[in-house]
């Protein structure tokens, strides 16, 4: 079976002349931090369902007495699409918030351009797990502090220290409801991914 990319011009194809290049950015963060709001600010948003096998820990927690055979569970995620050009499409995936669905992250993260870790200063600890995940896998990420109405505005420096971030990780203040603000955050992710790639290239060239 051929899974290779066909030519981007696709001139030979009578049915669909353009096969766009597709890229994805993940949106992570704790429950209720505004992931759905952020995705819907820039994109048409649709829920995406996935049916997954219950992992062993999940199987132990769920009381499956009387429902033998229930070995899968349905997980919902936010999913958005931004058509940048006819031949360039960016997809946004909101990662499932609950810890028991970590196994879904690997698939989402694979081949992603980078990610946004959305943080709420009132519950900074909620995004520790996401930051840890992206750091371990070397996936470029920015921390976007969602400035809720009424929330105390912590300076960027305080947030950076509290999260113990590497100096090169950008910390941005944002309003997840505001399209312009969310656009800035996404541009921040791509710029950060670009500078990391540049640094890696320089490293390998120097080695």
């Amino acid at each position: 079976m051929a899974f290779g990319r066909s030519s981007r011009t696709g001139a030979m194809h009578a049915v669909s002349p353009v096969e766009p290049l597709t890229l994805k950015i993940l949106v992570a963060g704790g429950f209720g931090v505004g992931k759905t709001t952020l995705v819907s600010a820039v994109s048409e948003i649709r829920p995406l369902r996935t049916e997954e096998r219950l992992s062993e820990p999940g199987a132990a927690v769920d009381d499956t007495d009387g429902v033998e055979g229930k070995s899968t569970t349905t997980v919902a995620m936010d999913f958005g699409r931004i058509t940048l050009r006819e031949d360039l499409v960016l997809y946004l995936f909101g990662t499932p918030g609950q810890d028991r669905f970590w196994f879904l992250w690997d698939e989402l993260a694979q081949g992603s351009l980078g990610s946004v870790v959305l943080a709420d200063t009132r519950r900074l600890a909620d995004c520790f797990a996401a930051i840890d995940y992206f750091e371990r896998r070397g996936i470029p990420f920015v921390v976007a502090v969602n400035c809720f109405d009424g929330a105390e505005r912590h300076p960027v420096v305080t947030v950076r220290e509290a999260l113990d971030l590497d100096p090169e990780v950008p910390v941005l203040l944002c309003d997840a409801r505001d399209r312009e603000s969310v656009k800035d955050v996404l541009v921040g992710v791509v710029e950060h991914a670009m500078s990391l790639a540049r640094a890696r290239r320089a490293m390998s060239a120097g080695a």
Binding site: M1, A2, F3, G4, R5, S6, H13, A14, V15, S16, V18, E19, P20, L21, T22, L23, K24, V42, R46, P47, L48, R49, T50, E51, E52, T72, T74, F79, R81, I82, L84, R85, L88, V89, L90, Y91, F93, E107, L108, Q110, G111, S112, L113, G114, R179, K183, L186, V187, V190, E191, A193, M194, A197, R198
Partner: protein, 144 residues
């Protein structure tokens, strides 16, 4: 029976209820047909890669034959119809059909086997030839 109007089936001789759907379940009950019933119990295709969520499903010229709308299952025909309009990502197809991704992957695999669609492999960012694509993404986002 706190709410008999919803819990009781409609009286066969009486007037139908407002909704016309006197179901004992609602959306919270989840899908009534078990998801993998549509794939006849199959959860994957032998020897097939797990299709990436942003892999594009592209209709082949053979898919234009109207005979497929009559011979394929409604779900297969639905996927094929969407892909005939324009290439669709695996994630979009799952969202449009409101089916679990695992189910849609199997259905797409059937269409690949029938040579009605092909699936493109998304380019991992690490394999992008240079920065120009990322610059285009930035420009595109700013222009939104």
């Amino acid at each position: 029976m706190s709410d008999p109007g919803q819990d009781r089936p409609a009286d066969p001789r009486g007037t139908p209820p407002d909704t016309g759907h006197p179901h004992w379940f609602d959306d919270d009950a989840g899908p009534v047909v078990r998801p993998y019933a549509m794939t006849r119990g199959r959860t994957s295709h032998a020897g097939q890669h797990r299709l990436d969520l942003i892999a594009l499903v592209v209709a082949e010229a053979a898919a234009d034959d109207p005979v497929w709308d009559l011979t394929l299952s409604p779900e297969h025909a639905h996927i094929l119809g969407l892909c005939r309009e324009r290439p669709q990502s695996v994630a979009e197809l799952a969202a449009d059909l409101d089916l679990a991704i695992g189910v849609v992957r199997v259905l797409i695999g059937d269409l690949v086997q029938d040579e009605l669609v092909h699936v493109t492999r998304p380019v991992p960012p690490a394999e992008l030839p240079d920065e120009s694509i990322l610059r285009e993404v930035i420009d595109g986002l700013r222009a939104l």
